[in-house]
Symmetry: C2
Subunit: 467 residues, 2 copies
C-alpha cells in the first residue's frame, strides 16, 4: 500500500519534471514496467499506465526488451488503444504483428484512421495483406484498397476522405444544421470546403469565419476563393513544401478530373517534414533508413552497400598513392603528412555539400543563383584554404625541417580545399538535375574527389620538386 | 501587347507545371524579372507579380542578384506585402534593412504578426533595435518588448497572444455572440480555451465541436479537459516534440502562475521542426548555421573553426603515423594501403553516429535501451567488419603478393570497424548527457578515433609481424 502511494508520487513527478522533460517516458518507468512484466504484476502496470497517451505507450513498447513486448501486450489486452500500433516504429510493429492472427490484425485496423491503417497494412508482405483484407468488411476493404492503390508517399496516402463540402448557395444556418446532422465527421477539421455541382472545389470557409457569421449569410459571400489544390498523386515532399511555403492549415485534394476527393491537414504534414528531414540526415550519414530498432541482419545488409562503395573509392585512392611509392620511399615524411591534405579537403567538401543538399531540399539553391553561390563558395575556400595552407606549411616545415615540404603541403592544401568547394557544390546540383537524391550520393563522390586530388596534388608536387 | 499576352500564357504554365513543380518560382521568371529591373520596366514587373504570395515574393528576392534587390523593392514600393520581410532569409533581410530608416522599419513591423515582428526585430543590433522601437506606438512597443524578453527559441516567442477564452459556465450561444462581437481575433484558430476565474486553462473546445452543438449547451459539458499546457519558457524543440507526439493542433501557453497567456498553433511548429532538423543536418556536416546567403567573410569565419579542429585531429593522426615511419620506409606498401583502414572506420562510425544522433533527437535512444542498441551495433560491425576484412585482405594479398600484409590489413579492418561502432554510439550519448548537442561534436570525435585506431592498428600490427 505504501508502495502504491510511492508510485503515485513518482508519477506526479514525471508530469512536472524538474526541467528538461515535461512529458513522455523516463528510464525509471521503463525499468519498473519491465520488472512488473517479469513478475506478472498486472495491477501495478494498469495503475502506472492509466490514461497514457497512445504515443507514449508506443514509445514504452519500443523501449521494452524485445522478449517482453508480447507479454506486455497480453497483460494489457483490451486496454491497448489501437492507435498505439500506428505510433509504433515499423520494425517493432512488424515483429509484433508476426505473432497475431489475421482476424486480430483486421480488428485493430478497423479502429485506426484511414492513413494509419494503410500504413500498417502496407508494411506487410503481399500475401499477408490479402489474408488480413479478407477479414475486413467489404465496404471498408474497398476504402483500404483504394488507399493502398495510391503511390507510397503520395498525397492520396496522406489525405482523409471525411470532410465537409457544401454548395456555395447555402447559407451558414444550413451549413451548421448539416454539420449537426452528420455523424461521420473527422475528429478534427479546420475548414469547410465549398464545391460546384461537379464537386470541384471553388473555395474554403474557415470554421472561425463561419462561426462568427449570422445564420442567414451566404457561404459564397464569405468563402475564401484563393486555395491551393493538391493533385492526388503529388509527392508528399512537394505537399509539405506547399504547406510550409503558404502556411496552410488544410488543403483540398483533387483527382485527375479536378473533383474534391479528400483533405490533408497540417498535423499530417508535421510527420512528413520530420520524415523527409530524417531521410536526408540518415542518407548524408550513409544510412538508407532508420534502423535503430531493425534486426542485426537487416541492419548489416542495409549498411553494407555504402561501406562497399566506400571500399572501392578507398582502393581507388590507394591506387593513386601507389603511383608515387618511389617518392614516398625516398622521403617517408610524405607518407606521414599525406592524410592531412585529404582529410581537410574531405571536411571542407562536406561543409559545402551539406549546405548545398539542404538548400536544394528547401528550393533556395536553383539554376538561377547556382553560379553566384558557387563563386561565393570558391572565395570562401580560397580564404580558408590560404589560412590553413600557411598553418600546415609552418607545422610541416618545423616538424621535418624542410621548407620545401612546407611549401608543397601548403600548395596542395589550397588546391584541395578549392577543389572540395567546387565539387561540394557541383556534385549535388548535378545529381539533383539527374533526379537522383543528392543526399544519398553526394558525399561519396565528393570525398572520393578530395581524397584523390589531395593525395595526387601533394605527392605529385613532391615528386616534381623533390626528386 | 503580344508580349503581355505571351507572358500571361507562360504564367498559366507556371501554375500547372509539367510535373515536378506545381507552385513557386522558376528560373525563367527570376531571369525575366532581373532583366525588367535592369531596364526599369515597372509595368511588366507589376503584371508578372500580381497576386503573388508573400513567401514566393521572398524567394524571388533571395534569388535576385544582391545589387538588384533594393531597386526591386523601390520599384514595388507599397505593393510589397510586409509578410515578405518575415519570410525572407535572415542574411538577405539584414542586408536590405541596413538601407532603411528606423521609421520605415517600424511601419512594416506594425503590419506583421507578433512572432514575426519579434523575429525581425531580434535580428538587429541592440542600438538599432532601440532606434526602431522608439518609432513604434507605446502600446505595441510594450508587446514587442515583452516578446523580446522571452528567451530565443522559447515557447513565449512562438505564441500568439490573441485568443478566445471563455468561462465554463457560458453556453455555446454566449460564446458565439462573444466571438461575433470581438474584433481583435487571430486570423486562424482552431480552439476556444476555457478558463477559471484566475484565468487558468481548465479545458478546450474545438471549433467544430462548438459549431455542431446547440446554442443552449454549456461549454463545461462539451469541453475537452485533457490538455497539454506549455510553460512560457519551454524550449521550442520540446514544444515541437509535444505537438508531434500528441498530434496537437494548438496548445495553451501558461506563465509561472499557471495563467493562460497565449496559444501556439501547429503551423508555427512546422517551421520549428524544419529549423531543428536543418540545424542537425548542418551541424553534422560541420556547418554552424545556414550560410547560403551569408557574405563571404561571415561564411569563411563560421566554417573556419570546424576546419581548424579538423586540422588538429589530422595532425594528431599524422603524429600517430610518424611513430611507424621506419616500418613504412621498410615496406612502402603499408603507406599505400593505410588510408583504406582509416577511411572504412570513418564511414562505419559515421553511419552509427548518424543513427544515434537522430535517435537522441527523437528520444528513441535512451539510457534504458542504450546497452541493447550498443550490443546490436557491435554485432553489425562484427559482421560487416568480417566481410570487409576478407575482401580487403584478398585485394592486398594479390596486389602486393604478400599474405602477411593481407592478414594484417584484414585484422586492422575488423578492429577499426568495431571500434567505430562503439565510438559512434558512445560519443553522441555521452555528449548528450553532458548537455552538449551531439550533432555538433560527435563527428569530429568519432573520426579522430577511427583515424588514429585505423593507422595505429594497421602500422602497429605490421611493425610487430613484419619487422
Amino acid at each position: 500500500m505504501n508502495d502504491a502511494q510511492e508510485h503515485r508520487e513518482e508519477d506526479a513527478a514525471v508530469g512536472e519534471d524538474s526541467g528538461t522533460r515535461f512529458y513522455g517516458l523516463n528510464d525509471e518507468i521503463v525499468q519498473e514496467i519491465q520488472e512488473a512484466i517479469e513478475r506478472e504484476d498486472a495491477a501495478l502496470i494498469y495503475e502506472r499506465l492509466a490514461d497514457w497517451h497512445s504515443a507514449d505507450m508506443a514509445d514504452l513498447i519500443e523501449q521494452l526488451k524485445p522478449k517482453l513486448r508480447l507479454p506486455f501486450l497480453q497483460i494489457m489486452g483490451e486496454r491497448v488503444d489501437p492507435d498505439v500500433y500506428s505510433d509504433l516504429d515499423e520494425n517493432v510493429r512488424e515483429h509484433l504483428v508476426d505473432d497475431m492472427e489475421p482476424a486480430e490484425i483486421a480488428a485493430f485496423l478497423n479502429e485506426l484512421e484511414l492513413d494509419d491503417a494503410v500504413d500498417v497494412l502496407e508494411s506487410f508482405e503481399e500475401d499477408e495483406q490479402r489474408e488480413v483484407l479478407k477479414e475486413i468488411p467489404a465496404d471498408e476493404r474497398v476504402v483500404l484498397q483504394e488507399g493502398l492503390s495510391y503511390g507510397e508517399d503520395s498525397a492520396g496516402r496522406l489525405m482523409q476522405r471525411n470532410l465537409i463540402a457544401v454548395p456555395e448557395y447555402w447559407d451558414i444556418g444550413q451549413t451548421i444544421d448539416y454539420m449537426r446532422d452528420t455523424d461521420d465527421l473527422p475528429d478534427e477539421f479546420y475548414e469547410i470546403f465549398v464545391v460546384d455541382p461537379r464537386h470541384h472545389p471553388i473555395g474554403t470557409l474557415s470554421l472561425n469565419r463561419a462561426m462568427r457569421s449570422k445564420r442567414q449569410v451566404l457561404v459564397r459571400d464569405i468563402m475564401d476563393t484563393e486555395q491551393k489544390l493538391i493533385p492526388v498523386d503529388m509527392d508528399q515532399e512537394e505537399v509539405a513544401y506547399l504547406f510550409q511555403q503558404y502556411r496552410l492549415a488544410s488543403a483540398a485534394v483533387v483527382n485527375e478530373d479536378g473533383a474534391l476527393i479528400g483533405v490533408i491537414t497540417v498535423d499530417d504534414i508535421v510527420d512528413v517534414i520530420s520524415e523527409e528531414a530524417e531521410e536526408d540526415i540518415l542518407r548524408l550519414g550513409g544510412v538508407s533508413e532508420d534502423d535503430l530498432f531493425g534486426s542485426v541482419m537487416s541492419t548489416t545488409r542495409a549498411r553494407f552497400l555504402w561501406l562497399f562503395v566506400n571500399l572501392l573509392t578507398a582502393i581507388a585512392a590507394s591506387v593513386a598513392i601507389g603511383l608515387f611509392d618511389a617518392t614516398m620511399e625516398a622521403i617517408i615524411a610524405l607518407a606521414v603528412l599525406m592524410p592531412i591534405v585529404a582529410s581537410m579537403g574531405g571536411n571542407a567538401g562536406t561543409q559545402t555539400l551539406t549546405v548545398a543538399v539542404r538548400a536544394l531540399a528547401t528550393k533556395e539553391l536553383t539554376a538561377g543563383n547556382m553560379l553566384r553561390i558557387l563563386s561565393k563558395e570558391t572565395m570562401v575556400a580560397f580564404l580558408n584554404g590560404s589560412i590553413f595552407a600557411v598553418l600546415i606549411g609552418i607545422v610541416a616545415w618545423l616538424w621535418f625541417s624542410s621548407l620545401n615540404i612546407g611549401l608543397i603541403i601548403a600548395l596542395a592544401m589550397i588546391v584541395n580545399i578549392i577543389v572540395a568547394a567546387v565539387a561540394g557544390m557541383i556534385v549535388p546540383v548535378t545529381l539533383d538535375r539527374m533526379k537522383i537524391d543528392p543526399a544519398i550520393a553526394s558525399s561519396v563522390f565528393v570525398t572520393t574527389v578530395t581524397d584523390i586530388v589531395g593525395f595526387v596534388a601533394f605527392l605529385g608536387l613532391a615528386t616534381i620538386v623533390l626528386l
